[in-house]
């Protein structure tokens, strides 16, 4: 293969990925029911914990809403990232992926499109959630640099969960099964963590799990960064977990994608 051909192929491949990213981004606002649902749920959770449960929870961050923000944010991002599994399962059932496979393109570009779409939606969602948080009394003290680190964490965490969601979407037999599959994974990880309450009061085995699982590291890192507290090893552990999940899940998703359709 001469270099001009390689260049042309790379150009086309980047173009294909871009076309499919645009498609997924269009889904965000064309399918506004979904966006609305994904945004309203964490807002309801925030109001629930802020005003109903919050008063009874003792934390060391001054007000409870300061403690809560990072937890709500990470849980919202995790559920938002599950959209990739819906999108991929839907494309598979409807035959859109089959059609794309008969085009002269790299068919995995469709997965890239959905994962990137999630990233854009989650960015939007994070902005809305933090703004809502400030409305109900959240007082961040993060510097500009710290906000940038928080943004990087949001991106990496979203990518990690989206690629896991891609695997679930490829494994699911029906679109319906995707929803409980995602719930089964995200629900325990987001509640058995330091998202809503300090882990100190949990029974020993649960506490060990809660303090060492990736969600807690991401939550604690964001919490410390927003409130100007020492980050400890949480930031590094969060980065290691996110990169680790991304590096392992991309090849698995790629393998499952190629295998699909009896090839």
């Amino acid at each position: 293969m001469n270099s001009q051909l390689v260049y042309k192929k790379a150009y086309w491949m980047a173009g294909d990925v871009w076309v499919l990213i645009v498609r997924s981004i269009k889904h965000i606002y064309k399918n506004y029911d979904q966006l609305l649902g994904l945004t309203i749920q964490p807002i309801m959770f925030m109001l629930l914990f802020r005003y109903v449960f919050g008063g009874a929870i003792v934390v060391d961050t001054g007000t409870y809403v300061n403690f809560l923000m990072a937890g709500i944010l990470v849980q919202g991002l995790a559920f938002g990232s599950l959209t990739t599994s819906f999108s991929i399962a839907t494309d598979l059932q409807r035959g859109i992926i089959d059609r794309l496979k008969t085009l002269p393109i790299a068919s995995w570009a469709v997965m890239m499109g959905h994962v990137t779409g999630d990233l854009v939606r989650n960015g939007l969602q994070a902005f809305i959630l933090i703004s809502m948080g400030i409305l109900v009394g959240f007082q961040p003290t993060a510097s500009a640099l710290e906000w940038i680190v928080i943004a990087v964490l949001i991106v990496l965490f979203t990518l990690a969960i989206s690629w896991i969601a891609a695997i679930m979407g490829l494994l699911a037999k029906t679109i319906e099964s995707v929803s409980w599959l995602g719930f089964l994974v995200i629900f325990p990880l987001s509640f058995a963590s330091s998202a809503f309450v300090p882990t100190e009061t949990m029974p020993a085995p649960l506490r060990v799990f809660a303090e060492n699982q990736p969600f807690t590291h991401v939550i604690e890192a964001i919490r410390a960064l927003t409130l100007n507290r020492p980050v400890g090893n949480h930031l590094w552990m969060a980065l290691v977990w996110c990169f680790g999940i991304i590096l392992v899940s991309i090849p698995i998703a790629g393998y499952l994608f190629r295998r699909h359709g009896g090839r």
Partner: protein
């Protein structure tokens, strides 16, 4: 070796199994350039498997397959550039508008901007979708959706188009509309391979009909000749009494005779219209056999199957493939 100049699709001794289930048991089929061939068969006969292999979605276990002169095994990318795929398992994006769907497909085929614009307008107009072009596809009717699907597969001027049950689950009016749309393809010199479960559809659209059952092609002919082998029309008689029914079976003579003792029906092919029917009724009257009801109907896929296999389609293997 068949000529790939004359034939757009060449299939030789194609075999495919899923686990222990042999779905294709040695299929031979050729489609001449510019022709429409209908693959007619019941569910599970292997129609969709053939389309999936031709469109590079499945690997064959055995046999040679050439599409537009390219070997599907060694030149899948060239095959993909030569084909358009529509039907059961290819769909459009329902959140995007019709126009956006076509533009996206054009970009994915790496067509130039000006070609995409021209072709999109042309296809929307041709398929009567110009007015609906800026509406999301989820607001489309079933027939509009199929037409958009068809347009999407034609965006890059493919010389060969596969239509997998293009009118399944459409109401009769939309079906006719989609048929007329498919007919228009012929004017562009496109080669079409379509699958269907309806003899009527194959008859309306195709130059050649290949009847497939249980993974094998059991007949291949023009619609006219195929139908004349099954009879232009079928006369179906319901005999009043059970003992009369048994006598009726021996009394009635004719082509493609079949009977069902549980329902007390006898049916046969009618070639020459009223005179022949009169003849049959006379035979029965002379023997004193009373007829309950009499119907004259167009031959169906069932009759074609009875003719070539001696079986009703659902008596064959019933696999979903």
């Amino acid at each position: 070796m068949l000529s790939t100049q004359e034939n757009a699709i060449i299939i030789e001794d194609l075999k495919k199994s899923f686990k222990n289930l042999e779905v294709l048991k040695g299929v031979d089929l050729t489609v001449r350039r510019g022709n429409i061939l209908a693959l007619l068969g019941p569910n599970g006969a292997g129609k969709t498997t053939i389309i999936r292999i031709l469109s590079t979605l499945l690997h064959p276990d055995n046999g040679n397959v050439f599409v537009n002169g390219f070997d599907i095994k060694t030149q899948p990318q060239e095959v993909r550039r030569s084909i358009g795929l529509t039907g059961q398992f290819a769909d459009v994006d329902e959140y995007l508008t019709g126009l956006e769907n076509l533009l996206m497909m054009g970009k994915l085929y790496h067509l130039s901007r000006s070609v995409i614009t021209r072709r999109t307008e042309e296809l929307l107009k041709k398929f009567d979708l110009t007015e609906a072009a800026r509406r999301p596809v989820k607001t489309y009717s079933g027939g509009m959706r199929r037409k958009l699907d068809l347009a999407a597969s034609l965006i890059a001027y493919p010389p060969i188009v596969f239509l997998d049950e293009p009118t399944s689950s459409l109401d009769p009016r939309s079906r006719l509309n989609v048929w007329e749309t498919i007919k228009k393809l012929l004017n562009d010199g496109v080669t079409v391979l379509l699958t269907t479960q309806h003899l009527e559809e194959a008859d309306f659209l195709a130059d050649t009909i290949a009847v497939i059952n249980d993974g094998r092609i059991i007949a291949e002919d023009t619609p006219g000749r195929l139908k004349s082998r099954v009879g232009k029309e079928r006369l179906e008689l319901v005999i009043k009494r059970q003992d009369d029914f048994e006598r009726a079976v021996t009394v009635i003579t004719g082509n493609d005779l079949s009977h069902n003792s549980a329902e007390k029906t006898v049916s046969l092919a009618i070639e020459n219209g009223v005179n022949e029917i009169q003849g049959v009724l006379n035979q029965l009257a002379e023997s004193g056999i009373e007829v309950d009801t009499l119907t004259l109907r167009k031959p169906t896929l069932d009759d074609v199957f009875m003719h070539f296999t001696g079986l009703k389609p659902d008596e064959g293997r019933n696999e979903a493939a």
